[in-house]
């Protein structure tokens, strides 16, 4: 069964630290526990999304710069 990374907060999901920088992680990258895979902006405050499991990124389910709900699936690990 695939492992899931869920959004800890409601807000806007970002895959990059800033618009002119590369994504934190791409599909196929290995992810360790505690790795940052994206940011959630809540009311102009930026919060890191850290992986709570290790694995290989198989898919981003949430799009970059899209609104997400708390608990929404962001990415899947294989």
């Amino acid at each position: 069964m695939s492992k899931q990374i869920l959004s800890p907060l409601p807000g806007t999901f970002y895959r990059r630290p800033s618009p002119d920088q590369p994504a934190f992680k791409e599909v196929g990258d290995t992810v360790a526990v505690g790795d940052v895979i994206g940011l959630i902006e809540v009311m102009k405050s930026f919060n890191e999304v850290q992986a709570d499991q290790a694995g290989t990124l198989t898919a981003f389910v949430a799009e970059d710069e899209e609104p997400v709900m708390a608990g929404q699936l962001l990415a899947e690990l294989g």
């Binding site: 807000g11 806007t12 809540v42 009311m43 102009k44 609104p67």
Partner: protein
Amino acid sequence: MAITKLLVANRGEIAVRIIRAARELGLRTVQVHSAADADSLAVRMADEAVLIGPPMASKSYLNIANILAAAAETGADAVHPGYGFLAENADFADAVQAAGLVWIGPAGASIRVMGDKVAARAAALAAGVPVVPGSEGRIDDADRARAVATSIGFPVMIKAAAGGGGRGIRIAQDIDQLDRLFPQASAEAKAAFGDGGLYLEKVIERARHIEVQILGDGTRAIHLFERECSLQRRRQKVWEEAPSARLPQAMREKLCASAVALAEAVGYRGAGTLEYLYDDATGQFYFIEMNTRIQVEHPVTEMITGVDLVREMIRVCDGQALRHTQDDIRMTGHAIEVRICAEDPARNFQPGPGTITELIVPGGGGVRFDTMLYPGYQVPPFYDSLLGKLIVWDENRAAAITRMARALEELHVGGLPTTRSLHQLLARDPEVQAGDFHTRWLEPWLEQNAHRLEETKA
């Protein structure tokens, strides 16, 4: 009024505030909104509402093309930008006017001059308004920096000419530090901005933030006295009052006269605010910048003068002459505003969007609550955390603080964290009560009072 239908290009409490003013002027209103704001109070109140994009502000509230299309579609003939978003975007101001609409704000050219720190400083100097002592223009070599720093006095700030937003600022306490930091700052500015040019400014260490409200019709300007906003956290104002807690009358007259002079010198139209630092110890004041829009804290000025600033800015931008002379503007009593934000003071001001489960709004004499909340409203996570502004007026400052404490006690916002408990503690603080504070007072106070914020958590 020449205009008949006003488009509100903003959201939240200020959109509600603008709709109220428009309605009192007999205007119809169009509220543009993102997909996240379809249930907002402003959308419910306005005569018409137009969806202009997804939740993200860059795709909706900052989307000039969609806002202009909404104006065309609804036949709106004026645009009010509120504060934030596009309010100080000169290109938007120009685009609104190019589309044949009335812009409720100053001309794009005025926004450009006052928005550029160096140009604004030059305009202030030309109008005889004191600015923070510093170098005249940029400095390229260390010898010149030493001479300027010695003449203005340490500590000095070394700033990048091409910088902004506080980036690349260094503070030198003495000549040795200046010698060491100047080349570093130059190299860093070159790397960050492609321009190693620097300038120096004196550090004003214990200053009050004092700002003067002005209204102009393009020819004549008047002031509506000052506000003091010295209680700040991370450069965000937390508690604002009018008049200042401590400004001497002679200084008030000088500051207000300088603000009118600068506003008239640039042919200012609309509502604007000139911000100053005021040093209690030396009695000096320094212009820092001008905000070319209505400000969040405008209600405290309305409470002490009785003038509706939003209505008046719409009138003058509609082409009418100012209805008031300077002598018409009288100041009575004292007003205080506190910002009620969806943030938890006990958890380092972590924001917390959510659904409003309960709302009890304070009332009684001299109390005003400007908000977009209603029971059942879902506060979206995509925008700033301001939920409302609690404003009180009373005969004097001490009575206003007592009334603020009473109003805060009545206020209940259920369903999310708010900054109410912070303001309750501030209202009880002896230094706040004495007006004994400056712009760097609140942050250390928050650290010292962290445990009390924990205990009073509502």
